[in-house]
């Protein structure tokens, strides 16, 4: 790309952006610069701060809630909301599409931006302008078509048409191809190239490194809320995927993990074989594709995978078919075939699953510690259907002390606890079911370093007591720090299984980013 002389060197400059949430610094002094008419990719691990940065840009986090400066087209911007940023031509297309499924394509394109005549909707203009936009994005659908009747790929195009209707100058796409098949992805990327050639600057956030290499002019890598560096794709030295990966993961490792020596070679506790799960709505899509994993007594097994790889889906479908449909495959626990059709059956078989989203799936936030602690094994303290409240209080108190949950007593409402302490209540709840195998999905997400260390200690103790622990995590250092063995998952398939000694962040990331055609059947 050549820089035109008349224009400033950068269309967008975000300088020294810092953004904090209670207890976490999400961005610290991030600098991000986009040249006019280029495709600029942002890479980084889950939680590195990519989406936060884009929310700062678009005004979702309004001016004043972050530090630093945003300059767009040579002017400093102080966006208070999305409307402000869109007024300037900055449009962000979110990962979860923001379309109204029951409205038509045309209605969605002009949502909040209606074509009016005398204060009423001008349908003729709405539909004719929509038609033109649809031609521009290469979508062959009638503007009257309801959005819910078209596929995800086409919905993505409607989003882009919507952005174009706002006279977009900078288009941000957050994981645009995550839910798309190869053809739709290819079409979308072609369209983005077309927009660039029209002079629209595009920012694309993606986990798919192959895709990024194919389309981006510049890559900025963000790690732990900081800019690591920028790579020029048209430079002298070709940029390889390995280079990107190294920048993405190359953080120094300190001893954030307790020392632990696992007893390997225990009995096989759980084996999942040939496990296939289809998406609950898009039933043709395989979310988990012939995956096989196992865990032994005393072992901590990790599952690594990027967002959308099917980690949570694999775990939840095994746990009493809590996710997906048309599930096939075998589960063996302690060598015996089991049918786990309900959560109760899974619990009875000795399985526990602590969700990645403890607020939504893990806890009853308006109830107290005591009730939450016993909620998955109420039978144990209520043999005839009547709860032994003394035992309940004793059990809850015992786990509160054991896990060092910071609360004055077990009558405290769980919603008032910090994230780390909530997670300890979740752990208590599942430890009280006395499982053989615990699946912990993102056990340390959103909690501070000190509490993380404590959680790791408890995970180690569980393994030492002869249980099998499966840890799903987006943080590779965490998996490398606590697991004995790590499976990698990419697009629903197991792409590898490395013992801790043979694994490092680069090797894992390589396996995690394998695309379908590369996977050896």
């Amino acid at each position: 790309m050549s820089v035109q002389a008349a224009r400033p060197e950068f269309v967008l400059e975000m300088r020294d952006i810092s953004k904090s949430f209670p207890g976490v610094k999400a961005l610290s002094d991030v600098t991000f610069k986009v040249r006019p008419g280029e495709i600029h990719a942002i890479c980084g691990e889950n939680g590195a701060g990519k989406s936060t940065l884009m929310k700062v840009l678009s005004g979702v986090y309004p001016y004043g809630t972050y530090e630093g400066q945003i300059v767009f087209n040579g002017q400093e911007c102080k966006y208070r909301n999305i409307k402000d940023s869109e007024h300037d031509g900055v449009v962000v297309i979110q990962q979860e599409l923001a379309l109204s499924p029951h409205l038509s394509i045309a209605e969605n394109i002009f949502l909040g931006n209606e074509r009016l005549r005398h204060g009423f909707i001008d349908w003729a203009q709405t539909n004719s302008q929509a038609s033109k936009l649809l031609t521009r994005v290469g979508l062959d659908e009638h503007p009257d078509t309801k959005v819910q009747t078209i596929g995800v790929g086409k919905q993505q195009l409607v989003e882009i048409a919507k952005a174009l209707s706002k006279d977009v100058k900078l288009l941000v796409l957050d994981e645009p191809t995550a839910a798309l098949n190869d053809d739709d992805s290819e079409h979308l990327l072609d369209l983005v190239r077309g927009l660039r050639d029209e002079g629209i600057a595009c920012v694309i956030i993606s986990h798919k490194l192959g895709e990024i290499r194919a389309i981006a002019d510049t890559i900025t890598v963000i790690r732990d809320g900081q800019t690591v560096g920028s790579l020029d794709m048209h430079g002298v030295e070709p940029v390889t995927e390995a280079m990107i990966i190294r920048q993405m993961v190359g953080r120094p490792l300190d001893n954030r993990f307790p020392e632990h020596e696992s007893q390997t070679g225990g009995d096989l506790l759980m084996e999942v074989e040939d496990w296939t799960v289809h998406h609950p709505v898009d039933t043709a899509r395989r979310v988990v594709d012939h995956a096989s994993i196992n865990v032994r007594a005393g072992e901590i097994v990790g599952i690594a995978g990027l967002m959308g790889a099917g980690r949570t889906e694999l775990a939840m479908s095994v746990f009493g078919k809590s996710y997906g449909r048309d599930i096939s495959g075998k589960v063996r626990i302690k060598g015996r075939d089991v049918q786990l059709n309900t959560v109760q059956q899974a619990i009875d078989a000795g399985l526990a699953y602590a969700s990645e989203d403890r607020k939504r799936y893990g806890l009853n936030l308006i109830d107290d510690i005591k009730h939450n602690t016993v909620s998955a094994a109420l039978k144990k303290i209520a043999p005839k259907g009547v709860i032994d409240k003394e035992e309940e209080a004793q059990v809850a108190e015992e786990y509160r002390k054991k896990l060092n949950t910071k609360a004055p007593n077990v009558d405290v409402v769980v919603g008032t606890l910090s994230g780390g302490n909530q997670q300890k209540v979740v752990l208590s709840k599942w430890m009280f079911t006395d499982p053989d195998v615990l699946i912990l999905d993102e056990p340390t997400r959103g909690i501070d370093v000190g509490a993380k260390y404590e959680i790791y200690t408890h995970i180690n103790a569980l393994a030492d007591s002869g249980k099998g622990v499966i840890v799903i995590s987006s943080e590779l250092p965490e998996l490398l720090g606590i697991c004995d063995r790590i499976y990698t998952l990419s697009m629903g398939r197991i792409t590898g299984c490395l013992p801790r000694s043979a694994a490092n962040q680069e090797s894992l990331m390589e396996l995690m980013t394998k695309e379908k055609e590369e996977i050896v059947e």
Binding site: V343, S355, N409, V410
Partner: protein, 401 residues
């Protein structure tokens, strides 16, 4: 009165959420007291006359009975709009059984209960196994069962056996003789209830202390104990002067209230209802059979609708197709006045009973004052709104603190 252990925290360590709950309960009790005093003055002392208190209980027992089942459904995040129609239908069935088929009245009541369970199973089936929201299923039920009631009760059916009429009109009088004009048995019930209440409160407090759990400050505990004891004894004393002694419906309500307090706070079933209302996704992932709980709570509502129908039909001495009009609204209002949350997961039997008493005192006081029925309805509407607004205000203050 409930024997539920008080969940509360001592002042120095209590998190905000807990103080809020206590304040809420306290607020409703205060509101009831104010309403009682207000009407006592406005009716020139007639509200608390012995026979008026007895008929207040008899006339409004249905609110308490229905509210117990409604509370469960509201906690689980649903609603039941059909109970008024169901009361009418079941009243019709029992009346036909007694008058047309000449069945003994206890058998007719049993028949009514079975029919109630079937109605509940019908609605529970659609909610639990088809996933249709309770609002819609019971809206349909409201029309369906009212229609059926009109079909089977063409014209008023009256002339019930005396035993049946006595259920909601009679009481236990003179079993142990009299003391002056006071019925000794009624006084005794008041004393026994008070002793039982005080004993259970002490025991649960001791248990909490033994486990190092937080309890109310001592002053508040004794204050509450004395206030409620005085209240129970006063009601016993007033009723002992009434012409029927202890109304049978008081016994029915008392047993049900104790039973449902126990079910809601001490059984797996009750706990599951709270868990489902608090976070249905977490409940599912904890192995709770959500569908079964949904089904059973509607079956239970059918059972209570049958009991309410027995009481109402007995009270009026006749079955009419228009019986039970707006009963569902009274029961729902009682729950919300009593602190249940529209979003589910929150609500207690004690609060609901107080809510039901608020509705009852309003009904009775306004009737004694001969306020026009239309205005009675308007006033009840405003009280409901005021109670919930007050509740919101307290919650917002609690959140800000």
């Amino acid at each position: 009165m409930s024997t539920t252990p008080e969940v509360s925290a001592s002042a120095d360590v209590a998190p905000a959420a807990h103080r809020k709950v206590d304040m809420q309960q306290f607020g409703i009790m205060l509101a009831l007291a104010i309403i009682v005093v207000l009407f006592e003055i406005m009716t020139g002392g007639r509200l608390l006359m012995a026979d008026n208190v007895a008929s207040l209980l008899q006339q409004n027992a249905y609110v308490i009975i229905l509210a117990l089942g409604m509370l469960m459904i509201i906690i689980a995040g649903h609603i039941d709009l059909s109970v008024g129609s169901v009361v009418a239908l079941l009243g019709g069935i029992m009346a036909i059984a007694m008058i047309n088929w000449n069945l003994p009245w206890p058998v007719a009541c049993l028949l009514g209960i079975v029919a109630g369970l079937l109605v509940g199973a019908w609605q529970g089936f659609w909610v639990a196994y088809w996933g249709i929201p309770g609002f819609i299923v019971t809206l349909a039920g409201m029309l369906l069962f009212r229609g059926l009631a009109i079909v089977i009760v063409g014209q008023t059916i009256a002339g019930f056996p005396n035993g049946f009429v006595q259920v909601a009109n009679g009481g236990m009088l003179g079993w142990f003789g009299f003391m002056g004009s006071m019925d000794i048995f009624t006084l005794l019930i008041g004393v026994v209830a008070t002793v039982g209440f005080v004993f259970s409160q002490f025991r649960s407090r001791q248990r909490l202390l033994a486990h190092g759990l937080s309890v109310e400050p001592q002053g508040l505990f004794f204050g509450k104990l004395i206030a409620i004891s005085v209240l129970v004894l006063a009601v016993g004393w007033i009723l002992s002067l009434s012409s029927i002694g202890t109304p049978y419906v008081l016994v029915i309500c008392g047993v049900l209230v104790l039973a449902y307090s126990f079910v809601m706070s001490n059984t797996v079933f009750g706990r599951n209802i709270y868990a489902i209302g608090g976070n249905i996704a977490a409940a599912r992932l904890s192995g709770i059979d959500v569908r079964r709980s949904h089904f059973l709570m509607y079956v239970n509502m059918g059972f209570l609708a049958a009991i309410a129908s027995i009481v109402t039909t007995s009270r009026s001495g006749a079955a009419v197709a228009a019986a039970g009009q707006n009963f569902e609204l009274d029961a729902i209002a009682a729950c919300f006045i009593g602190g249940a949350a529209v979003s589910g997961g929150v609500g207690r039997v004690v609060g609901t009973i107080i809510g039901a008493l608020v509705m009852g005192v309003l009904n009775m006081g306004l009737s004694i004052m001969a306020v026009d029925a239309a205005w009675q309805q308007a006033i009840k509407g405003l009280v409901l709104l005021a109670a919930v607004a007050f509740d919101m205000l307290q919650k917002r203050r609690g959140a800000a603190a």
